[in-house]
């Protein structure tokens, strides 16, 4: 062990002497990350303090209960359970319904014969990605009105018009479905790239062995993009607890809080509207800790099962 360590130290020293200039060029990057990414993180201490702008982050006093007062307030309040449940449910639905969609789309696009049609399809499906969230939400709101597009369609089949955005039961569906519509095409690009990287000889060999289309997809395409899928899945799980607030803020209203209010919207309301900075930092810190735990967990599982992992 000791020799090993010493050996590594010597190795690093040697490497440093050899590549002095490269290390030197690396210094600004390190400084950048220290100053703009790690140092600001120390502001997390806000979560344990009673922040007053006049006293600054360091000058403000710590809260009671060893600094954990904000956490206690959050968990004993009525919003903790609901926002956590909503956050988990929305991300779970996104994961279950949203995650496979780009993969399926990529495989389907890959199977298309006419290159022209394929190109058109690709452009059409990833176009929504370029529409800004605000505009997308404006469209959704318009379509969901009681005389909007969706109600006109369902009305054609004889359904009563309903104001869809004031139905708590429909919020998550609207949110997840519109998310899929917007992101599916764009997200499929990375899978298409992965599929393009698969050796075509494999397909030829499989054809000779008499494999049909589905067999080829199952035995060649899917295993070929497995590592990409796993990495993206880990990243997706890491983002699970951070359901973006922008879209929800633009779509929810008090009548749908029950199913729509998530941690990030709560943090927004508390921190930016009520200016309770320390409290919302505490809630967000809790969120980040869970996120980190999830990534770590997903990574560990994947390393065990598939030998593909982020770190």
């Amino acid at each position: 062990m000791a020799t090993n360590k010493k050996g590594r130290g010597a190795e690093i020293r040697l490497d440093f002497q050899k590549n002095k200039v490269v290390y030197f060029m690396f210094v600004p990057v390190v400084i950048f990350f220290l100053v703009f990414h790690y140092y600001p993180m120390s502001g997390i201490i806000l979560a344990f303090k009673d922040f007053k702008p006049a006293h600054g982050i360091w000058g403000s006093a710590f809260t009671g209960m060893f600094g954990f007062e904000h956490f206690v307030t959050f968990f004993s309040g009525v919003h903790a359970q609901r926002t956590i449940t909503n956050t988990i449910l929305i991300s779970l639905y996104q994961l279950i319904f949203g995650f496979p969609m780009p993969i399926i789309l990529a495989i389907m696009l890959n199977e298309l014969r006419s290159p022209k049609f394929k190109k058109v399809m690709q452009t059409v499906t990833y176009f929504p990605h370029f529409i800004s969230t605000v505009v997308v939400c404006g469209m959704i709101t318009e379509f969901c009105l009681s005389d909007g597009l969706f109600n006109q369609i369902s009305g054609f089949f004889g359904a009563e018009p309903i104001s869809m955005l004031s139905e708590p039961g429909m919020f998550r569906t609207i949110y997840v479905a519109s998310g899929i519509w917007q992101a599916m095409g764009w997200d499929s690009i990375i899978y298409l790239a992965a599929i393009a990287g698969i050796d075509t000889q494999l397909y030829e060999a499989a054809s000779l062995d008499g494999a049909g289309r589905f067999k080829k997809i199952w035995h060649i395409t899917l295993p070929g993009i497995k590592s990409t899928v796993v990495i993206l899945l880990i990243m997706q799980i890491g983002k699970m607890m951070s359901v973006g607030s922008e879209k929800i803020l633009l779509l929810y209203n008090p009548s749908t809080y029950k199913t729509a209010d998530v941690i990030s919207t709560y943090v927004y309301r508390k921190g930016l509207l009520d200016q309770d900075y320390s409290y919302s930092t505490a809630v967000n810190l809790f969120n980040s800790v869970i996120n980190f735990a999830l990534v770590y967990f997903a990574n560990a599982v994947s390393r065990k099962l598939t030998e593909t992992s982020l770190f």
């Binding site: 703009f36 140092y39 600001p40 120390s42 502001g43 997390i44 806000l46 007053k52 702008p53 006049a54 006293h55 600054g56 982050i57 360091w58 000058g59 309040g77 009525v78 919003h79 709101t141 969901c144 009105l145 009681s146 005389d147 018009p161 309903i162 104001s163 955005l165 004031s166 139905e167 708590p168 951070s242 973006g244 607030s245 922008e246 209203n253 008090p254 009548s255 749908t256 809080y257 029950k258 990030s264 943090v267 927004y268 309301r269 508390k270 921190g271 930016l272 509207l273 009520d274 200016q275 309770d276 919302s280 930092t281 967000n284 980040s288």
Partner: protein, 533 residues
């Protein structure tokens, strides 16, 4: 969101490091009285505007860029002219606080430790209120400097009611207040289509029963999809929907009756009000999209005729009229708040407190020339200055007609500017700055002013005034935000029929469990102190 928060934190951190020695000093209220030098030119009896032009004051505001101004305004833009009139140069540093609340940019300004000479802010909504703003060393108490602002001081000393409203409990003046015109306190109300009423052969409705009847006919005979429309959040904005709940003698959230502060939803009539609204909604008399419409959708529904009755701000009503100016059939009249029985007086309705802390300015602790600063801000409260703030330059924007200031066509009928209000804002600053408003409406058309008149009720008796809280009370009052959210959610749920009204008692129990009674007590204490000021 996270990125933003991280950025905000980063920014907070960086600025707080650079500014550690900036604003932390205890510059709060000194016990020692400030003496003003007898020879101080700014306190002199014979002081006259303009000042000598050597003083530059910074202010947290943005000014419209020269190039953005329409041609007709050039040379007469309010913020250019005021520099000539007062002899003070202004340096605009941005980051204005929004009229009603303190914005993020403004919070960053506070953490920076470098304040402009003039701080435009709403210290009433600031956490801890004006006393925290003074104790934390952002702004100065003004009382000792009163020789510098004879206009404001003279008015407040002669008008007890106004003085009570704009000072703190101990009589401290903390700002040059934005004080509304007491006759113009209601800017939101109901407008109904007269031509629709004619079509169904009804008079303008007054009682709950008549309203119900008219709306039902709107729906059945005229096939309107949204007979009555407004934004759902208006149920919960202060007194915006008071015109609907007035027959039951309640409104949201807090109101006063005699010496007592009351909270609408826990009062007796409120459940009946919600029951009635739920009935209307279920029968399709209220817009199905109530919960998701916004101001502009409401406006377009009323302008297009999908809705026959709308609760809107006066400016939006004006836009509806303007959009239908060509159509002789489109006739609109104003409706006063509903009443229970024929002949009752409409008691409650929309009401703006003349002073809510917004758009007011204070002098910061870092201001070096308090005399010049106070004189500049005091200009709006002098006779000459008040006219200039309200109407702009005499002879360019307005003239006296029979002794009343009357706008020229350049304001009321300007082709290059979208509407009269926008034109007026270029030449005058009649509502959004520290001033005692003379008149905020005269640029509007006669038809709109007529509608406006019907919004007046006795709400000034019931409205909860602008109060200040002690440091301990601030902690309690912060429970209100969560209670408010719960109320909005549950009450709207009852009205939309998502929740059964049988659960009403459990709702009241829930908000009581969240500390409603503590909040109510604080509100009551603050109100009692207010009355005793």
């Amino acid at each position: 969101m996270k990125k933003f928060l991280a950025m905000l934190l980063a920014a907070l951190l960086v600025v707080s490091c650079f500014a550690c020695n900036g604003g932390t000093g205890d510059a709060g209220k000194n016990d020692s009285k400030v003496e003003i030098d007898a020879n101080d030119p700014y306190a002199a009896k014979d002081f006259a505007y303009p000042m000598d032009g050597t003083v530059t004051l910074s202010i947290n505001m943005t000014k419209t860029d020269e190039a953005e101004l329409p041609n007709w305004v050039k040379g007469h833009y309010f913020w250019d002219v005021i520099e000539e009139k007062t002899g003070i140069k202004l340096e605009y540093i941005g980051s204005a606080s929004k009229p009603q609340e303190t914005s993020e940019e403004f919070s960053l300004l506070l953490t920076s430790g470098e304040y402009p000479d003039i701080m435009q802010a709403n210290w009433i909504t600031f956490k801890g209120g004006p006393s925290a703003a003074i104790n934390d060393g952002y702004i100065i108490a003004l009382n000792d400097y009163k020789a510098y602002f004879p206009g404001l001081a003279g008015w407040l000393e002669s008008d007890e009611e106004a003085n009570k409203t704009v000072s703190m409990d101990d009589g401290t003046w903390f700002c040059f207040p934005n004080f509304g015109n007491a006759r113009e306190t209601s800017g939101t109300g109901f407008a109904i289509r007269q031509d629709y009423l004619d079509a169904i052969g009804e008079e303008a409705p007054q009682t709950v029963e008549e309203w119900y009847n008219v709306l039902t006919k709107f729906k059945n005979e005229l096939n309107l999809t949204a007979p009555l429309t407004f934004e759902a959040r208006w149920f919960f904005l202060e007194y915006a929907a008071a015109g609907l709940s007035s027959p039951w003698g309640v409104c949201y959230p807090f109101f006063v009756e005699g010496d007592d502060v009351k909270f609408g939803p826990t009062e007796e009539g409120y459940k009946e009000f919600v029951t009635e609204m739920a009935k209307w909604y279920a029968e399709g008399l209220i817009d199905k999209d109530l919960a998701s419409v916004d101001k502009s959708t409401v406006q377009s529904k009323f302008a297009s005729g999908e809705a026959g009755l709308a609760l809107q701000q006066i400016r939006n009503i004006q836009n509806c009229l303007k959009a239908n100016a060509e159509d002789p059939n489109y006739q609109v009249i104003g409706l006063t708040s509903m009443v229970m029985n024929e002949g009752d007086t409409p008691e409650m309705g929309h009401y703006n407190n003349p002073f809510n802390g917004g758009c007011s300015t204070s002098i910061s602790t870092q201001c070096e020339n308090i005399g010049a600063c106070a004189r500049f801000l005091d200009y709006a409260y002098t006779e000459e200055g008040a006219l200039f703030f309200a109407y702009g330059e005499e002879g360019f924007a307005w003239d006296y007609v029979d002794g009343t200031p009357t706008f020229r066509d350049i304001v009321t009928n300007n082709e290059e500017t979208p509407d009269a209000q926008a034109a007026r804002y270029f030449v005058a600053q009649f509502a959004n700055f520290s001033l005692h408003a003379l008149d905020t409406r005269s640029h509007m058309g006669a038809e709109v002013l007529e509608i406006q008149k019907s919004f007046e009720t006795n709400m000034n008796k019931y409205s909860y005034p602008t109060v200040t809280y002690t440091e301990d009370e601030v902690k309690t009052i912060s429970k209100w935000n969560d209670i408010d959210t719960t109320c909005r959610e549950r009450i709207l749920g009852f009205i939309l029929g998502n929740e059964d009204l049988a659960n009403w008692d459990s709702f009241i129990e829930e908000i009581n469990g969240m500390g409603l009674q503590d909040v109510l007590k604080v509100r009551q204490d603050a109100y009692t102190r207010f009355k005793n000021r």
